[in-house]
Each structure stands twice: as C-alpha cells, then as structure tokens.
Symmetry: C2
Subunit: 386 residues, 2 copies
C-alpha cells in the first residue's frame, strides 16, 4: 500500500493533550503472535481493520501489506482499496442502497465480498449483479452463538439463500460467522468451547451448501477471543479478528491478553485536584476515551481506564473513575488501601482504554512510538465516516 | 461569522446511512425558548458550542451570530474565532502547555477567558501573562454542587487565587460555575432548588472577591437544566448551556424537554431480522449513536435510543436495545405488549439519541432539514479534535 505517514519530531511530553498514543512495536508483537497461532493450523488471517482504521497501521498488520482484510464500512473499503488493499470482506449485512459502491469497487479491481442472512438480501444482491453485469461475491452469515445476525445452523433458509445467490446472478462465496459472545467467556475452557462451536457451525453450514450442490470455497470464522483459543481449524479457510492488533482492558478482563500487551493509550494532563475527595482531574474525558464501559460487566470494572505513568506502567490502583466531555476524574479503585499517587498540576499520564475500537474512533490520528520510546515517529490518520 | 455551508440537493431517503439529521427549525425554537427565559431576568446567554461543534449551527444559536459563546476545546476556540466569534470562554481547567494557544487567540483579537481552581494554575496563568505581555482573562471555577471541579464556596482558597491573578499579571474576570448534578434532578422542585443553589454559590463567591477588594465583573452560571428552571438570576451576568440547542433523551428523562423538541436523529437502514427474537437489525451501531447510556440511571431506560418513523414520530415501544460497532438491534421495550412494527429490509428509521453531544461527535457533518422536510438543505461540518 502507499505510504502517507506524517513524519514528526516531537516527544510524548510536548504534544498537546489529550492525544492517542500507539506503540507500534506492541502492535507488531500482537499481530505476530496471532499469525503464528493460526499458521500452526495452516489457516491465514484476514485481520479486521475496523479497530485501527489506519492505512499505515494496516501495512504492519496485513501479511504483505495488501490483504486479505475485513472492513466494517464502505468508507474503510474505499480508503484501503485506494491504498492498495484489494481483497476485502465488508462484514456488515449489506443494505440495498450500498450495492452501487460495492460494484464500483469490484469494477475498479477490488475483490470485495458482501455478507447477508436473508432471502430479501439475496434477491437484492442477485438482481443488482444482473443489472450491473458483475457477479457480486456474497458470504452467507451464520449465527453460531445467538449473538447478533445470521442464519441459525440447520435452518433450511441457508440453502434457499445459497440457491438464489448461485442461480440468479451473484457469486456464492461461502460461509461467514463471528462468535461475538466469546467476549463474555470467563475461563480458558469456555473460550476453547466457544472457538470450537464457532468452527463447527461454520463448517457444518459450508458442508450443507456443498451437499446441496452449491459452492462454499470460503469458510470464514473469527473474533479476537476465538481466534486466540482455537485448538482446531479443520474446514476453516480464514480467521478474522480486529481488536487483537491493539488489545484493550476488555480483552485483558476476558483473559485474552495482559495489560502489557495493550498498544494503545490516551495521554492526558493533570489540570486540578479535589483533595478532600481524592480526585485528580485530567483533560481527557469521554471525547478522548469514548463512553465505552465494556469492563463494567467483567470481574474487575476498570471504569474508564487504568492510569499509567508516562513510561506506561500502571500507577497501582489509580483508575479513571468518571468522565465528562473533556474532563476525566482519576481516583483509587473503590476499597483500595493505597495512597493516592502524587501527580502535580501539569504532569502527564497514559490511560489504558476499555475498548480500543471505540477509543481510536474518537481521535483524528495516532501518535506513533516504538518500543516505549518518548519520541513520536509519525502521525497516522484515522478513517472516519461511512 | 463566515458562511461555509454546503448546499445539497438530496432527500433523507437517498443519503447513505447511517447519517446525522438535524432539524434546524427545532434548534431555532429551542434557542428562542431559553433566550426568552433568561431575557425575563435581563441576563444574556453564552451558549456552549461543545454540543453542536458547528460554525453554521453557531450562526443560528448565537445572539448576532458572533458571540458570546463557550467552548470545550482550544480547537473549537480557534475554529469559532476564525469564523468571527470573538468572545469566548474555554470552560475546561487550563493546562499549562495550552496557554500559548490562548495567548495566540488573545493577540489575534479574540477575547478568550480561561478557567481555573488552584494556586498552581493561578501562578501559571499570571506567569505566562507576564512573559507574554498579555493579561490573560481568568475566571475562578466554583464547585457549587460537588459535581466535578472548582473551589468549594467559603474556602479561603478563592481569595488567594483571586489575589494571585489580580496582583501578579493576569486579569481576574470573576466567577464561573456549572451545576452538572442538575442532570440527575427528578422533580421541578429539585431543578429549581439546584438552579438557586448554583446562582447563590456563584454570587456569594463573587461578593467574597469584591469584599476582598478584587474585581468580579463576570458571574457566569449554567447547565441546561438550571438554565431552564432558574426563577431568579440576581447577581448573575450570563447563563451558559449547550445541550438545550439540540436536546436529547437524557434531557427528556430529566423533564427539561419533550421528545418532540429533540432536533437530532440518526438515520439508519434495516439490514435484517432475527424473527424468533423479535429483533430488527440496522446499519447504525455505537459508531453512529455513541456508547452513551445516559438514560440508564433514569426512570425510563431508553437503551441506545427511541426509534421513529422517517417522519420523526416514535414507533411505539420500539427502541434500540443494543449496539455493536456498526450494528444496532431494534426491539420492543422489555415488558411491552405491543406488536413489533413491520420494517422491511431496506426501509429507514430515525433514532433519537441519549446524549446529543456524544452522538454529534461521532459524525463528520449534519444533514440539515427544516420543519420536518425530507429535503436536505445543507451539510454542516462538525469540528473534531483538540
């Protein structure tokens, strides 16, 4: 892909706060780890770029910098395609009015698959394929875990959709599923069972298509937890995951990573103290962190994030207990016996976020460092909009 | 201010979803209502532009389109100043490294005040004023309700900060407070009491400054609820409020407005159904709505928003019960006896958001209609970043 990084000569102590800090060395380690895991089974990764939303980050994440990849918006598809990534799945159920942009990408040479789970969508995709003179590649979404969308395994709807796509002008590519419920698994055994459930459902549906005389060259599975805990990928042709690239406190709480694996921080400045209350005020609120409270239902509620030193080490029990738009309140966890750290007016902290995808999307760019350096090497723009 | 609207000829049924819809007629009515209320007391509004983050919206909100106004970031200050709004308060406790940008605005002719609540900040502002040769206007923040930042009324710290500012090179402008706890008031009496508490605390602190021989020309109070329910503004020189311009479900739940006053919608397309579960899937998730769950603690939890027809009328008990990044799940409220509305694949809905500030910031621009028209008159860009 093309290189449009923005070289920069500034330290993390000098850039105006709040800003988003990415340790690209951690990102590379996270990617290498999962790539090695799925390679054991001979299955390639198709990383989901909805987490980083950055062409420059994608260059480090994708196998040869060009794909395959997964996207969550057509805007991402268009930006990544323009940057040279020509093998995409748009992994949100296709809306009829979006088919024109899909066809435009196909005609420009990007292999982009849509996903769907209904007769109505299959007819829309087949009809649009015929009208446009382009066989739109389509994957049938399977609901492997009751989480969200998809055809329930065993439902005759699967074959009906497959036949419409295959016989009426589209290109039936196969099966896709995402076991989003894996985010709520609490034990290694539960994670492994969820990964197997996801795999088995997808493979069974692909087999059902084949038994009906329909093609299913692709059997695409994945979520960050199931991707890491899979012990068997028989019948699977690719694994998708997104948040594993940066990781976050939700993934730490789910047992998928350590806090030291998290590549993403929000840097904030201390702007005040409410001494009687044990509060330290910073200039990062929900606008910088997001309103995501994904750890609220986990064993340890991290509120709006774990507070770290500017070296990236957690400051004991100090967390961001509450936020307003541009204010964050730092305090010790409820019940902590520790002493509030001394963080004078004007000092800086790094905050580990609950949900990397949500926090990234609040910012215009990543300030990128390597190996914990204080030197910002580049600013990488983040894609917004649809 | 300058006019950089983007004229457009498209209907709300044709623009790609999800997108942000603003009914500018409702915005104008909301602004006129509050302006009339505070005018009864002879007190001007200083609207907070952190909600709309739009130059074009500010033209409708500000008295003569130029100010006075409140901002939550220096980026907003710089954009609104460039657009001709030259009377600003930057209403987040000032960080030392941000003083250079404040002084740059002052030197360009923008009257921008900073706010602060500590000795350390007062010294920093006074020192920077002397070094820059510009008396930086500063307001002392008062904690009128225990909500967040500010000097507690009665604390001798107030006079100490005032003396540093006044005697050591800055310009002591007076007092500012924000009764953010008003968002949690549940009755008219509670709202009125909170408004009076906010007023009385600010006026008492201004009087304390004056008794110490210090100036306090400005006594600035406000939050959307206290601004609407104030019955006395004696001693107050200006009222600030932000979310009243657009309103949202949190303000509806707090009894400040009706759902029909809300000027903001997210438009989404139906992309699927999980019929057994009574779920309708749409292409707007938390990326379009935000993760804000401000109604969760209110009497009626609206989950991620109330679902309306494309005419803007609520569809009975249909709400957005859950979201993922680019997926929303619509379903009837828990316990509803209604029948799920028929919303076929490809149909569109408008969703009323929990928190206008949070939802706006997820988007690149407003699609603007007037008086419930289907015709989008303009796209107004939204300011991002810091």
């Amino acid at each position: 892909m093309t290189d449009n990084t923005y070289p920069l000569d500034i330290s993390i102590h000098d850039r105006d706060t709040p800003f988003l800090l990415l340790d690209s060395s951690k990102l590379e380690r996270n990617v290498a780890r999962l790539r090695a895991h799925t390679a054991r089974f001979g299955v390639p990764l198709r990383p989901h770029l909805k987490t980083v939303k950055s062409v420059e980050a994608a260059r480090l994440i994708l196998a040869d910098g060009t794909g395959p990849a997964t996207v969550s918006t057509l805007k991402e598809a268009e930006v990544f395609s323009a940057a040279g990534c020509k093998d995409l799945i748009y992994a949100v159920g296709i809306a009829p009015r979006k088919l024109a942009r899909v066809v435009a990408l196909l005609k420009e040479g990007t292999d982009i698959s849509v996903i769907l789970d209904s007769i109505e969508q299959a007819h829309a995709v087949a009809r649009y394929s015929r009208e446009a003179g382009v066989k739109i590649p389509a994957l049938i979404e399977i609901d492997s875990d009751g989480h969200r969308s998809g055809v329930v395994p065993g439902d005759a709807l699967l074959i009906e959709i497959g036949k419409i796509l295959h016989n009426e002008g589209a290109e039936l590519r196969g099966i896709i599923t995402h076991a989003g419920e894996s985010y709520h698994c609490k034990t290694l055994q539960a994670h492994q069972a969820m990964a197997e459930k996801e795999r088995a459902a997808a493979v069974a549906c692909a087999d059902a298509l084949r038994e009906a005389g329909l093609p299913s060259p692709v059997v695409s599975v994945g979520s960050t937890p199931t991707a890491h805990f899979s012990e068997d990928l028989t019948g699977v042709t690719e694994v998708r995951a997104g948040v594993f690239t940066l990781f976050d406190l939700v993934m730490t709480g789910a047992g998928v990573c350590q806090t030291s694996d998290i590549a993403l921080f929000v840097v904030a400045t201390v702007i005040g103290h409410q001494h009687q209350k044990g509060w330290i005020m910073v200039d990062a609120g929900w606008m910088a962190m997001s309103r995501d409270r994904g750890t609220a239902a986990q064993e340890v509620d991290q509120r709006y994030g774990i507070v770290c030193s500017m070296e990236g080490e957690p400051l004991g029990d100090l967390i961001m207990i509450d936020v307003n738009q541009e204010h964050g309140i730092l305090a010790l966890r409820p019940g902590s016996q520790q002493t509030l750290p001394t963080l004078p007016y004007g000092s800086r902290v790094r905050i580990l976020p609950n949900h990397a995808c949500a926090t990234v999307s609040q910012h215009g760019e990543f300030a990128v460092v390597r190996d914990g350096s204080e030197h910002i090497e580049a600013l990488w723009p983040i894609i917004h909009g649809w």
